[in-house]
């Protein structure tokens, strides 16, 4: 591990690829070459690799991410695995998403919070159906950066012409799916070409290596527009009267005698003491009189910090309320059209009753109608659908038992993302993003 004693920024990315594209090898190589695999882990992998008949000194890198017994026994990845590493510039959270089994479920889970997604392509096969599906999810979830790693470039003799063909095809498909600015690069995960160090065997490629890309692409936290409208979903109201922390009680008990703070994590924008805000759904306006970031006084705070704010007036703002910059609070909505990612084997159809989790609210809801199913190769919405089965994506209209302050996902991630939950057993049935405006 490279020493990271200075402050670093956090970058989240996901990897996706079809079976045999070499994704586990890529992840293993990245971690290994970034010196993020420690000696005892490597020793364990080497020992198990030997037991499995790998040549002396060769590693089955998949063993690093396939953490469950069933995965190692079957040689498949069942579930998203999280890995962590750091370089001098950044700390990384890697969500390693299996590409074949339950791919929508895993891709959606891994990509929902990702700053970038790496989609692997086998240089010998080029863009395949599975690649298009991965790109479709990246597009629908509006992941900021797409990296297409054309792997096994060694197996096509570092052929520039073939790479350029795949690169053009990748850009064309990405554009078809509404993605722009894909980063396409030639790599060999097995041999390490262009993963951390620039390969001498691809002299025709003058772009960045994979790690260089990951270290320099701007993350969500850095690009989050400071002038986005301020939003604070209220998690709870802190009224510690009688329950002050012993340390506070000893020194500042009087100051907090009538304290009533609204606790939550800022989902967008910035707030400064003195700002005018309004509270949804009550619609009342007031002024911010105090801000604490993680328990300490501050003049202003910004997304995604966890804060407690105090307000000038005695407004009604319980859990589920949204505090927003004055004049910007979204209208409460009882109905919305959403892009739905079906994750549970029990299909969703017109009439299905669910619970909806949005921000800090959970409300009863019903699927009014299934509007269409997507063709996951073209993203076209031309299918007429009665129901959405597991791993399918489509559009449905939802009706809620109470008004929710929804915003289109394209404008505000937190304001536009929902979970559909089974009302009886509590399973997460589907994820959804809000498409339409009121």
């Amino acid at each position: 591990m490279t020493a990271t004693l200075t402050n670093t920024t956090l970058f989240r990315f996901a990897t996706a690829g079809s079976v045999d594209d070499g994704k586990s090898t890529l992840v293993g190589r990245l971690l290994h070459d970034a010196k993020a695999i420690l000696a005892d882990q490597l020793e364990q992998v080497a020992a198990t690799s030997r037991d499995r008949g790998f040549a002396h000194g060769a590693f089955d890198f998949a063993l690093l991410t396939d953490g469950l017994r069933a995965e190692r026994e079957q040689g498949i990845t069942i579930d998203v695995a999280y890995r962590y590493f750091a370089t001098g510039r950044r700390s990384f959270i890697l969500a390693d998403c299996p590409g074949h089994v339950q791919y929508t479920r895993n891709m959606v889970t891994g990509s929902a919070t990702a700053d970038a997604v790496i989609v692997l392509v086998d240089a010998r096969k080029g863009i395949v159906e599975q690649t298009r599906r991965h790109l479709a999810v990246v597009s629908l979830l509006r992941v900021e950066h797409l990296i297409v790693a054309v792997n096994k470039i060694d197996l096509i003799g570092f052929d520039e012409e073939r790479f350029v063909e795949i690169e053009l095809e990748a850009h064309r498909v990405a554009a078809e799916l509404g993605l722009s600015g894909a980063h396409v690069l030639p790599v060999s995960a097995l041999e390490g070409d262009n993963i951390v160090d620039r390969s001498e065997r691809t002299p025709w490629y003058d772009g960045p290596t994979l790690l260089e890309l990951l270290e320099t692409l701007p993350g969500l936290a850095e690009t989050a527009s400071a002038d986005a409208d301020f939003r604070l979903p209220v998690q709870l109201v802190l009224r510690p009267q009688g329950g002050l922390s012993p340390e506070i009680r000893a020194h500042q008990g009087e100051r907090y005698r009538d304290f009533r703070g609204f606790a939550g994590r800022i989902s967008s924008g910035t707030v400064t003491v003195g700002d005018r805000v309004e509270v949804a759904p009550s619609g009342l306006s007031t002024t911010v009189t105090g801000i604490q970031i993680a328990g300490e006084d501050a003049a202003s705070a910004t997304a995604p910090q966890s804060v407690t704010v105090t307000l000038a007036d005695d407004v009604d703002a319980a859990r589920g309320a949204l505090i927003a910059a004055a004049g910007t609070a979204p209208t409460g909505r009882r109905e919305a059209v959403v892009e739905l990612f079906q994750l549970d084997p029990r299909a969703v159809t017109a009439g299905t009753r669910v619970l909806i989790k949005h921000g800090t609210s959970t409300v009863q809801a019903q699927v009014v109608e299934v509007l269409s199913r997507r063709d996951l190769e073209t993203l076209a919405l031309d299918d007429i659908a009665e129901a959405l089965a597991v791993n399918e994506i489509g559009r449905v209209r939802l009706r809620f038992a109470a008004a929710l302050p929804l915003e289109p996902y394209a404008r505000n991630r937190d304001g536009g993302s929902l979970l559909l939950i089974h009302p009886a057993d509590g399973a997460t049935l589907a994820a959804a993003t809000v498409i339409d405006e009121p």
Partner: protein, 307 residues
């Protein structure tokens, strides 16, 4: 924690700021949505950090849930002292489940290898049931172990406390689904996304007090399985194992019978941060005999209800 000084407006948030904000968000979600949360608190650095985050999440109020320690009876006495002092300082109620009392009355039997870590599961599940706890906070991190790398932040346990790794709820955005049926509970891991180095950098930044054995000190130790073991009534050198006085520290603090020390001269937090950043071994690989049993040791314990 709370002061009257006004800090400058934040510029770019660094990794620790983001991880802290995420952890506080998780802790508040659990307190808002569950009736009787409890925090597993051993006095080890990870649970100390979670308790510190909880104190910040509810300031100026106190931490609104009790802490629970499953005491193996083989814990380091200085850690037990630290545990008691910390709970008292923060005004939180401490519940203790004792493995020793289970052994004394025959509900559990001592293992031939003398390790009591796996024996914690039953007292833990009983304490959860007795306290009617529907959410149990833990300081587990995904970077500790490859089974933990697959763990959710809010993770459902069935009525037997079991974890079903093949049937976990997908977890998206910052929306945590904690719905559960009577008898089920969830485990909540607010520092899932932290690494050992993040934890130490945070301890340094926040000046968080820890039990002294996390820092270099002289101790009577002997070498076994590539680790340094403290002498105690639970671990004695066998024939051929040499007792010596060495400068050591602990990277993890668990049962005295299965936690080894590492040679170190890191006597303060800054030195530990530097040492961890340079380390070539994982903390569990370096110091935990119980995780060396098999490649799936942690997965098997977790499935049975361990934390």
């Amino acid at each position: 924690m709370s002061t009257d000084t006004i800090t400058a407006p934040p510029t770019a948030l660094d990794t620790l700021d983001i991880l802290e904000a995420e952890a506080i968000h998780i802790i508040r979600e659990v307190v808002a949505e569950f009736e009787r949360p409890v925090l597993l608190f051993s006095g080890g650095k990870d649970s100390v950090v979670v308790l510190h985050l909880a104190a910040k999440a509810f300031a100026p109020g106190r931490v609104p849930f009790p802490v629970l320690h499953v005491d193996t009876g083989h814990n380091f006495p200085e850690v037990i002292r630290f545990r008691d002092e910390t709970a008292q300082r923060l005004g939180v109620r401490l519940e203790v489940a004792s493995v020793q009392s289970y052994i004394d009355d025959g509900r559990l039997a001592e293992r031939p290898d003398g390790t009591r870590n796996p024996l914690q599961t039953q007292p833990l599940l009983d304490a959860i049931a007795a306290g009617r706890h529907d959410a149990v906070f833990g300081g587990a991190r995904r970077d500790e172990d490859k089974a933990r790398a697959k763990e959710r932040i809010i993770s459902l346990r069935d009525e037997f406390g079991q974890w079903d790794p093949r049937n976990q709820r997908p977890e998206l955005w910052s929306l945590y689904n904690g719905r559960h049926l009577p008898g089920q509970h969830v485990r909540a891991f607010p520092i899932s996304n932290w690494t050992e180095l993040d934890v130490w950098r945070y301890i340094e930044r926040e000046r968080i007090a820890l039990p002294p054995l996390y820092y270099a000190h002289e101790r009577e130790v002997f070498r076994r399985d590539g680790m340094w073991w403290a002498t105690s009534e639970f671990s004695q050198p066998r024939k051929g194992e040499q007792l010596e006085r060495r400068l050591v520290r602990y990277r993890t603090v668990g049962d005295m019978s299965c936690t080894g020390a590492v040679e170190s001269d890191a006597a303060d937090t800054a030195s530990v941060v530097a040492e961890v950043a340079r380390s070539t071994l994982t903390e569990r690989g370096a110091t935990r005999a119980d995780d060396r049993i098999s490649e799936a040791a942690m997965e098997d314990r977790k499935k049975d209800g361990y934390f």
